[in-house]
Symmetry: C2
Subunit: 760 residues, 2 copies
């Protein structure tokens, strides 16, 4: 079996030796350098820009402002295109903007022969603004009389939706039930991928090529076409290795601007990379969402109904629009089906913050924090063991989600919980830490989650794969799906090997996507690739295998039923080897009778989805006087179906847990309320946790074969980040009795809450 092996990453050696080449390692001769001028106000208008001094600086090739840029509004999120205008993304961006909506908005750009000149030129540009009051919170933006950030939305509400399932009010107003309320607030955090966004663009044959660090090359191609108002086929996007994305590169960031710049300098190559500060300020982040929840629970501990009102702070631009908070309220409901009914109300509100977008989990880490805090708080109030309370209410086998029709194929969540409970010694520690005193106390907490696999049926799921035979019986696997550091290339090779009947060693992945030749795929997001692209690989592998066997039958007309196993054509019955794939390939290439170059290319239009599950258990030690939480032990247990590569799965979970720890304890983008300026947009002031801040991270799995997955597999990319923050918050609650409902649980916040709770 090639699937299920802990196969070493195909890019491991190149990456650890520094030989793997990223966008900035690829230099096609001399490049011009572009640098962006950012606004020094957060809300208002550019009245005028004086570029004369900048243009006069030797080495400056071009200075372009918001008064020069095309006035074509375009969308930026990495969603599959919809032919239904009502389902298309919000097009609220311009390449450069006169209407300033965030501190640091893009208002002009300098293209120069080198970076120093470009930076000097930026300083010579004089801008006159007209300012409005800064609104960083939805409450401010929704106030009557607030200046509309986008004219199309006078109340600054991008969208409000209300979804009702069953009869929530029946239960929520039933005096025979127990009633609870919860108010939970998540913070704005950034992806902090190692490689900042970077691209370069040039023209060839009158077409534009953009080499860029992206998760979604085919979507970047489309959005550049939209932004520049040219045919999508006139753009070529090339994606080399990327240094992380986590959803930020599921957005079309500066590629359209870069593409436009090359057209303004006669097709010369222009590089546009951004600093860490610009990455924080001008690219995406995770939405801060406020959840106001009501719940009605039976005395038997059954959740009868919940109402969830979520207000999502969208910042200055729509990005993924309403999709993330919609996903969040849906996810809030999904894990624990309410017996009687559910209501969710979701708001997406423009503010003057840097615009959040997709980030690992796509709203679910937020809702899982709210939902798992709520479950903990109810259990605590009802004197239930939180483990048992959750177990009673989780989604049962065969459950069909009433809004999207996705079916629960697995009971593995309960077994994940059991595994986590045993690992952390739940019952023992829950009892042991019951009645602590003193400044340092310990606790254990948990959280569970469910997660969809890909975006069907909300959006299109489509992927193609191509397989090319070489003379030595190896193959190339070519995809539009992307390796973004997660190990995609490796598991794709394993899947192709499995489908064809080859050792994985004989599959060469074409790691770089070039939209001119790569099969179409919407890219890396929504934990979709091993599932959706995996199905395309399986189909292409099967077609390839059939073509090989058909040629084998030409070569071996006397043979019985043939099969391809481990790279050999064998007798289907006896398993006797009749021909190696290398021998067959040599004949197929060079036969004087029948030469054919065997390749197979297949589209998979995926019309399935499935739930992945998991949980986190954490043991913490809280130093109450200094508000310091130390995570002593932590375990994530995942049901992601069958693991394609157990080692890579473990690594994926470790990364997600690390991200969850930062989300729980230290990370937060902080703003000056007066100016809207980001105060900690760098990796010194923004407290990303390091390995030094982590205990040993434990990843466990329950491997149930998913009946809908190509190889029994389902989502794993995003889930690990989801349950960590609520598990830690619940452990702190267990340790201290103090329920902290706002993330992160930073020392400042904890000290404040402990004071309120009377602990200090």
């Amino acid at each position: 079996m090639e699937v299920g092996r802990a196969y070493t990453r195909v890019d491991a050696a190149d990456k650890v030796t520094g030989r793997a080449r990223y966008t900035d390692d690829l230099h096609d001769g001399p490049m011009l350098v572009a640098k962006i001028l950012h606004s020094t106000i957060a809300n208002g208008w550019v009245k005028s820009i004086d570029t004369a001094a900048a243009r006069a600086l030797p080495g400056v090739v071009k200075v372009l402002t918001c008064f020069d840029a095309p006035q074509i509004q375009y969308p930026t999120p990495g969603h599959p295109w919809s032919t239904d205008p009502g389902h298309q993304d919000v097009a609220d961006r311009l390449l450069l903007t006169r209407r300033v909506r965030i501190y640091g908005d893009d208002i002009a750009v300098v293209v120069a022969e080198d970076e120093v000149t470009a930076r000097r030129a930026l300083k010579l540009i004089r801008v006159e603004y007209e300012s409005c009051p800064v609104m960083l919170e939805p409450e401010q933006a929704m106030e009557p009389g607030a200046v509309p950030i986008h004219e199309e939305h006078p109340d600054n509400i991008l969208k409000r939706t209300e979804t009702v399932v069953g009869q929530p009010d029946e239960a929520l107003s039933d005096p025979a039930l127990l009633h609870f309320e919860g108010h939970y607030q998540t913070q704005q955090v950034q992806h902090c991928h190692i490689e900042n966004p970077i691209s370069y663009a040039y023209m060839e044959h009158g077409r534009i090529t953009v080499v860029t660090s992206t998760q979604i090359p085919h979507i970047v191609r489309r959005v550049i076409g939209q932004a520049l108002g040219i045919g999508w086929g006139q753009i070529r996007v090339i994606k080399p290795y990327i240094g992380g994305g986590f959803g930020n590169k599921q957005e079309v960031l500066y590629e359209p601007l870069n593409a436009w710049l090359t057209t303004q300098v006669g097709g010369r190559c222009v590089k546009l990379d951004v600093s860490r500060e610009e990455t924080f300020q001008n690219t995406r982040s995770r939405h801060p969402i406020r959840f106001d929840i009501k719940a009605a629970v039976s005395s038997q501990g059954r959740i009868m109904a919940r109402e969830c009102v979520a207000i999502s702070n969208q910042g200055g631009y729509a990005s993924h629009g309403h999709a993330i908070v919609a996903n969040a309220v849906n996810g809030f409901r999904q894990t624990y089906p309410d017996a009687v009914g559910h209501r969710s109300v979701a708001y997406t509100v423009y503010t003057n913050r840097p615009a959040p977008g997709a980030m690992r989990g796509y709203g679910i880490p937020q809702c899982d924090f709210a939902g798992e805090c709520l479950m903990e708080d109810i259990a605590r109030e009802m004197n239930w063991d939180p483990y048992q309370f959750r177990l009673k209410n989780i989604m049962p086998l065969g459950y069909v989600d009433p809004t999207n029709g996705i079916t629960c194929y697995s009971t593995a969540l309960a077994r994940c919980m059991e595994k986590g409970r045993d690992f952390i010694r739940w019952d023992e520690l829950r009892a042991k830490y019951q009645n602590q005193t003193g400044p340092v106390r310990r606790g254990v907490g948990m959280a569970v989650f469910s997660y969809k696999t890909g975006v069907y049926p909300i959006s299109l799921e489509t992927a193609s794969a191509r397989i090319v035979l070489n003379q030595d019986g190896t193959v190339q696997l070519q995809l539009g799906a992307t390796e973004i550091g997660q190990g995609g290339d490796t598991v794709f090779c394993q899947m192709a090997a499995q489908a064809i009947g080859l050792p994985t060693e004989r599959v060469n992945i074409v790691s770089t996507q070039d939209t001119d030749t790569a099969p179409f795929d919407t890219g890396a997001y929504a934990s979709r690739q091993t599932y959706v692209t995996g199905k395309a690989i399986k189909k292409a592998g099967e077609l390839f295998r059939e073509k090989v066997l058909s040629y084998a039958r030409e070569m071996l007309p006397q043979a019985g039923e043939l099969d391809l196993r481990a790279g050999e054509i064998v007798d289907g019955g006896s398993g006797e080897s009749l021909l190696t794939l290398e021998e067959l390939a040599m004949e197929a290439f060079y036969s004087l009778e029948h030469s054919v170059h065997i390749t197979a290319e297949v589209t998979n239009h995926c019309k399935e989805n499935t739930f992945a599950f998991g949980c986190c258990f954490a043991e913490v030690e809280v130093d109450i006087p200094v508000g310091k939480v130390k995570v002593l032990r932590i375990v994530n247990v995942h049901d992601s179906g069958r693991l394609i590569n157990p080692k890579l799965a473990e690594a994926q979970v470790h990364g997600g847990m690390s991200m969850g720890i930062g989300y729980a304890l230290s990370e937060e983008m902080k703003f000056d309320p007066a100016t809207g300026r980001l105060l900690n947009g760098n990796l010194l002031d923004y407290k990303l946790p390091t390995a030094m801040d982590h205990p040993e991270l434990t990843a466990l799995f329950v491997e149930d074969e998913d009946p809908s997955g190509p190889f029994g597999n389902k989502a794993l990319g995003e889930p690990p980040a989801i349950p960590v923050a609520p598990a830690i918050r619940n452990a702190v609650l267990h340790a201290t009795g103090v329920a902290v409902n706002t993330l992160p649980l930073s020392p400042q916040r904890l000290v404040e809450e402990f004071r309120k709770g009377g602990l200090i």
Copy 2:
């Protein structure tokens, strides 16, 4: 019609603006530089090499010698691989050699951090040799007792073949016939492409990537595999634009050495480019061939039989082996079928010259010189008009070549001759220049030729093509066939457009071949691509069209017969437009019902061939005392079937004519007979003609549709170079009465010949 349009080259703007990127324009980060140490003897052995001083030089990364290199002998010519060992190329090369066979042979290599260091290190290497006498001519090498240049061939004859058609001796000994003898000698010339051979190599995923200026990327891949003894799929070859090849880059030159070097420095990127001097000395050239001919002709002017003995000077390495002289003697016979019989005897002889290989025409310019001199000399002696004498003897319609079965489908050669005769005013000038005196005289001469299209049935002809639909109704055309300056990419686009039913503007060529993803094709040689690859493009276009129409039928279930014309789905009967290809593409990509990414990939195994024809007429003025020939007017007339792009066809002919003029008048590689050192291996001393040396070049065509060609087309790439030298030689003969039988007609040679002829 897209085929037949004078469509502007797709790469025109990029090339004239300098934006087109060649191998040396592509820099993937810092590169190591390799420089080769060449022997200072022409024949002998390396006894020892002392590299200590070179290795000690700071910045030197590696010094490798012939004592370190793998001892795997490999072949270098760009022939399709044969699974028949008897038909495989001669494997007589090592990456670095102890046995020195030419002056400047490759005996060691330095890899350094930069070029200056590499060159300094070369000078620090000390070599001890054991020398043998230098043999530059076949006559020397064939002498009894001569040192074998390759042990496998003690007599230095790589191969001798004799081919008899009919009963040549019957006519050659018939006293009733007229008998003639001729002795003709061609010289060694070099391709002189602008871009010297260059490559760089690095490792990725444990595989070797070589970016190289080649005509034959898929063959380079194979030969590297052979030379290094590794699976061919473990190598990836990328071919960017190249600055000319003319057959020299139909050879695998330094790519295997470059590939090996990167494996010796841990996969770091190593660049290996060679100087103009090395290009002359160490890469290929055109074979000097001596032809000794007997002919028997009837008194009615019918060629009854000929015998052609050809001795080809192969230099130190086999390269294309016996194939070129075999092609030459075959070509000698082919144009004028002998009534009674023909004998050809061909020798390929190793000498200590730089090894010749493929060069535009592949032996045919040599044999056409011999053959067309002979025809002229016979006509002159028999008092026939040389035009009429040729006309009487040329291949008739329906003629089937007795050795390869290729059929003559066209009578256009006679019409080409007529067109050329009219252009030059043959009859008028032949008469006018009849009896000249004085030091400056004029003459007109002519020559004709026939030429095969591709290599079938001698070798395999196979090519694949892939077409990819974009959302805007444009497509990418991806091929393994290569643009080498000839305009291939442009005519490929026209062919695809024609086959699909699209305007050519909507076809984007993928100009760079990457063997990991490009369809297989053996590459640019033998004037095969528009014919063999053209058939693959036609088939792929038709399959693509069928897939599009099949999707159209899903979208338009009520419609009648559908057709695709000029990028629109139309009613097959009325021609009414029903849908644009863009609309169809958008639906196919993004349909929620049936999403499919339309692509088509097809192999064409070509089992056909056809003759192309043409002729050259030249008017010259000869300044007898100084031996100077001035070409006053010159015209080539070609039957290459239907022209895909008349403008590019004209340009192709101009280039060939220029090459022919240099071959006729000035070009020759000259050697020091004592040391074997090349004396004029640079563009100052080697007299390549320039535009200043040319009259207006006229290209005319007779466009007969070829029944076997994909679009009625056949060979055009090489033919233009063929008939020019004999036409000029025959014009000089007409002007002066002196028959010069050795090329080139340089002033030195002409003065000598005119002295012998008593003119001075």
